[in-house]
Symmetry: C2
Subunit: 258 residues, 2 copies
């Protein structure tokens, strides 16, 4: 059964895009067929895979109903990994979608043909840092949520907000089946008390949801996108690639219910 | 003459809130009367000053016209520093404001009485990480923009987007006088090539706009908000406080046209 997963956290800079790209690459390397949808007008996931917003392709036009979403699917140089790139027009989609009748369910309708027909095992959506319409649309469409959180105080404070938002989306009837699939600690710096305190807090409140794997702070993850490479290509034997590979295995085990 | 400054960058986690709070505190300590408006539904600036969203106060209700913005102004324990706190309802403001006739100029209208009558030298607006309605409203209202940017590749990539957005707002006639007042490098880590490369790139393309002061990466800046303290209160003799004080002096010199 195909899973549609939103990688979301309204707090900015917590590692959503880095996790979306790295997890996609790791799953594809393990043989799973993955589609990554870049829902962020910043188009960071698109450029991290070495793609510029391809000419004429546009998630924006699919969202407002001018084209099919299936036509926006692009292969990448990585086997088993496909992407729907973002474009800057997406920022304009917020205002246009807000004015539609059933604006919360727009993305869910538009992505439905891909969910039903396409040969993917996982569809991952990289969400923008916001509580706006693109984010709520992603939550209304997704089966579950993966929440990356950096080991910082503001990110910790924001966790309750996303948990509340999920409850609201479930309660509104827009997506009663939505659940938080997991919480991933990112940018963990073992040398600071702050990192340890934040990890302790998150584990105490969300023990079952928080993955065992913690992604360490590593400058390699910051360097890779400037070459349009994933961490598996840029620094395959480094601690960052190894951590994301370990996370991908833990992610799959959890999907299997182990 | 009072200046209304938007602290904005659609890229998440670049140090907007940390800069808004630290600069406000430094300016207030130098004797300037400062109002900090928290435009982010995450309300990080509000909590960094040790305030929870005060009961009944709400920027949201002022934006949709139910109350005056002037009634939302709160003193802080810091002399010369006042704040208009954020509240989570702000996230709902995006959809409501989008439906108004002249939605781009909503904040500009609502903040006008404060700009004209109030005794502030500076009004700083901490913006959310987005290209959405709250951010474009802030750009339509502001005299100038202060753009914090972390020393990372995605943040560098985003700089051209914010420059284009400013041109669009100017060109649309919504705010012909808007300009980028300055660019501040944050989270600078002298040990990594990445930081040095990004700083080099930003200075090459935006030499005159980029402040000389660079804010170093310092865990103290991450710890201070968990105590509801500014960096001047939490670690007054550390490198982070000293850097923001140096930045505040450079900021004032530039405001005076030196
Ligand atoms: N584990 C890590 N160690 C060091 N740097 C990291 C790590 N993870 C991500 N980064 C870097 O930190 C910055 C923020 O990460 P990223 O852009 O993935 O976060 P995001 O949540 O997607 O941000 P936004 O909210 O803007 O979408 C990026 O420059 C990225 O390269
Ligand atoms: N110079 C610095 N050194 C170390 N940590 C920092 C520094 N500046 C900010 N931080 C921390 O990095 C994180 C991101 O900073 P901050 O929240 O101020 O960014 P932002 O741009 O306001 O984020 P958002 O896009 O979510 O509004 C915070 O946890 C903050 O405490
Ligand atoms: Mg991102
Ligand atoms: Mg902020």
């Amino acid at each position: 059964h195909m899973k549609l997963i939103a990688i979301a956290n309204q707090k900015g800079g917590v590692g959503k895009t880095t996790t979306a790209v790295s997890l996609s690459a790791c799953l594809a390397a393990l043989g799973w067929r993955v589609l990554l949808i870049d829902l962020d007008p910043q188009a960071n996931a698109t450029s991290a895979l070495g793609l510029e917003g391809a000419e004429g392709l546009s998630l924006y036009r699919a969202l407002v109903g001018e084209t099919d979403m299936a036509e926006q699917v692009l292969p990448t140089r990585i086997e088993n990994l496909f992407v729907i790139p973002a474009d800057l027009d997406l920022a304009g989609a917020e205002v246009e979608v807000a004015r539609l009748e059933n604006h919360l369910l727009r993305l869910r309708e538009v992505v439905r043909p891909i969910v039903e027909d396409a040969p993917f095992d996982f569809i991952l959506m990289d969400c923008p840092p916001s509580l706006g319409i693109l984010m709520t649309n992603a939550l209304a469409a997704a089966d579950e949520l993966l929440v990356p959180i950096q080991c910082e105080y503001f990110a910790l404070e924001g966790l309750s907000k996303i948990v509340n938002l999920v409850e609201q989306i479930k309660g509104s009837g827009a997506n009663p089946g939505l659940s938080i699939g997991g919480i991933l600690m990112t940018m963990y710096d073992a040398r600071t008390n702050l990192s340890q305190q934040v990890v302790g807090e998150v584990r105490r409140h969300f023990e079952a949801l928080t993955y065992q794997t913690e992604i360490p702070r590593s400058v390699r993850l910051g360097e890779a996108p400037s070459f349009g490479q994933t961490i598996l290509e840029y620094d395959p034997n480094g601690i960052a690639a190894k951590s994301y590979q370990k996370f991908a295995e833990e992610f799959i085990a959890r999907q299997r219910g182990e």
